[in-house]
Symmetry: C3
Subunit: 249 residues, 3 copies
């Protein structure tokens, strides 16, 4: 099933491409890679880069994923079905993600990270090593999750982001911080201590502002803007939306 590989690309004979995998021009697919059926890899991507920091396991990309151009993925990471990336993403070893992760253009995942289902990273997100990210999390452009409490050192304390939390543009989350479920970190914040669930934090250092539900939708209805999954459904499958709706009753 190699007829969908562009003739300018190099695919190692041991790489495992399932049916209907498409590989665009100028790609390099190394040996230790499994691309499940229906994956589409655009131009200039290099998948399965070898590293001494890997455990030897392959890079696995789930079914029907789309990897846009100029991506670099190392070996020893695992993505569920329907991964979607923007351009120029970098993903290091030991990144384990559930289904339908979206990684925006220029994002940089440093590896040693656990990521749940249906997570969205917008453009230019930096995820330091040892972070743990729940389900349905949103992280917006130029957000950095850090890990070293007194750089440089050998102590790495990753950030934990719980389900449905939202981190807005250009915020820094300091090492070891936990962002509570459904919380909102406002744009341009520096978060130095834990964030309570369903609360808004803002500032540098970020302080608690109000319950997230106090923010009103600017759509004329003045319904609460949070929890966001009461009004925002784009890109989620019907079964997920149905479950959300049943929980809200």
């Amino acid at each position: 099933m190699r007829e969908l590989v562009h003739p300018s690309s190099y695919v190692h004979p041991n790489a495992k491409l399932e049916e209907n995998v498409e590989i665009g021009p100028f790609c390099i697919i190394h040996e230790n890679v499994i691309l499940k059926k229906g994956c589409k890899v655009d131009a200039y991507c290099e998948l399965g880069v070898k590293t001494p920091l890997s455990n030897g396991s392959p890079l696995v990309i789930g079914e029907n994923s789309i990897i846009r151009s100029h991506a670099v993925f190392y070996e020893s990471s695992h993505f569920g079905d329907k991964l979607v990336t923007g351009h120029r993403v970098s993903v290091r070893e030991n990144t384990f993600a559930g289904k339908n992760l979206q990684i925006g253009t220029l994002s940089d995942l440093q590896g040693d990270t656990m990521i749940g289902d249906y997570v969205r990273f917008h453009s230019n997100v930096h995820i330091g090593k040892r972070c743990t990210i729940g389900n349905f999390v949103w992280i917006f452009p130029y957000v950095v999750l850090t890990n070293d409490p007194h750089p440089p050192s050998n102590i790495l304390r990753g950030v934990t982001v719980n389900d449905f939390a939202v981190i807005a543009t250009m915020s820094v989350i300091l090492p070891g911080v936990t962002i509570g479920e459904g919380a909102l970190v406002a744009a341009h914040s520096a978060v130095k201590s834990d964030v309570e669930p369903e609360m808004v934090y803002s500032g540098s250092p970020a302080i608690k502002i109000c319950p997230a539900g106090k923010i009103k939708l600017q759509d004329g209805t003045r319904r609460p803007a949070y929890p966001w999954n009461k009004h925002f459904f784009r890109g989620y499958p019907v079964e997920v939306i149905d479950e959300w709706n049943s929980n809200h009753e």
Copy 2:
């Protein structure tokens, strides 16, 4: 006129390359692209990426433009003459820009954006959808123009930046904000409400500091540093500078 295409590149036979267009190595020029005369496209660029979000119109690059290496441009955008880009720029559909736009290395234009003439984006600028940018605007590194007042949601309120405004390094402009003509947003600011013309704003949240004309040039003359077009002319054509000088009289 395809003799200036590097033999390693792929140019779709329907792409329209006017005279003296040069295409460097390892490029991909898709079908729905018009490169006007004298354009130079460096290595590893992909132009005219298809998207269901396009209206079917081509990517048009004006005369004598320079697109540096590793760029990604989608179809359905239009640039005036003398576009100049740095490396690794990403430009999505429905971006409409006047003449002599400069887009710095790593900048990411998300599309659905109107941009005037002679605009300068420095490195690593992020322009969210639905922004409107005037003429002679300057935007410096790591600035983000946002658009969603309560992310994630379906409400998009772009930022408006008026003529001659300057946004300095690592500032975030919140959704729906208007930056007045000739205003200066200082570095590392978070702008949450409208900025008056010809004023300096700074801080997080940004507040009004003083008239921009109060900032003195550090060149020994102590002339006002703003309006900047009284002393800074590099890269503008003679007819523009002449017009500026006549307006200043």
Copy 3:
């Protein structure tokens, strides 16, 4: 000694590749380049880009360096031995660096810069023109060193960072500022005036907080975290560590 050049790559016949230089797929090595022995250049790199701003001297990469994929280096820069880069780094002309510089993924060095020995730039660091960086400096992700005191203008005042200084994530250093030896700039700071040696600065604008030595290592010992070279040795050669230890006595 061209047998280690991937057949898909273009190496100008005048480029000087010393013994055991390896060039990965889809690379472009221009004429004005010297790669010293043992260098390894990964895929999609373009080295020696011509520019009218160069002085005509070659790009020189020291022995046993590793340049990871998608890099762009201009001519007229010089790197000591054991340069190591991440992916997608951009380095402009007239950058002069000592030995064992590390440049993280997505970093953007604008040129006209002096850099000492054993400097570490993490991911996505932006070094404006005219900066001067000492030895053993650490700069973390999304830090920007600026240079124009009233942008846009013709006055460029670079930043100076002295030996052993550390600049943490997403800080901006304003033009002309000097960061003292062994100082620490905390994350998400905007530094507008000089930083004293061995002090911690934080905030926007950054203010002096305390001596760096007051920060304790979170490893159970509660030893001081600074100077960091009393406890952090990873990646430095034995002779350097020996010298540090003898100085500490």
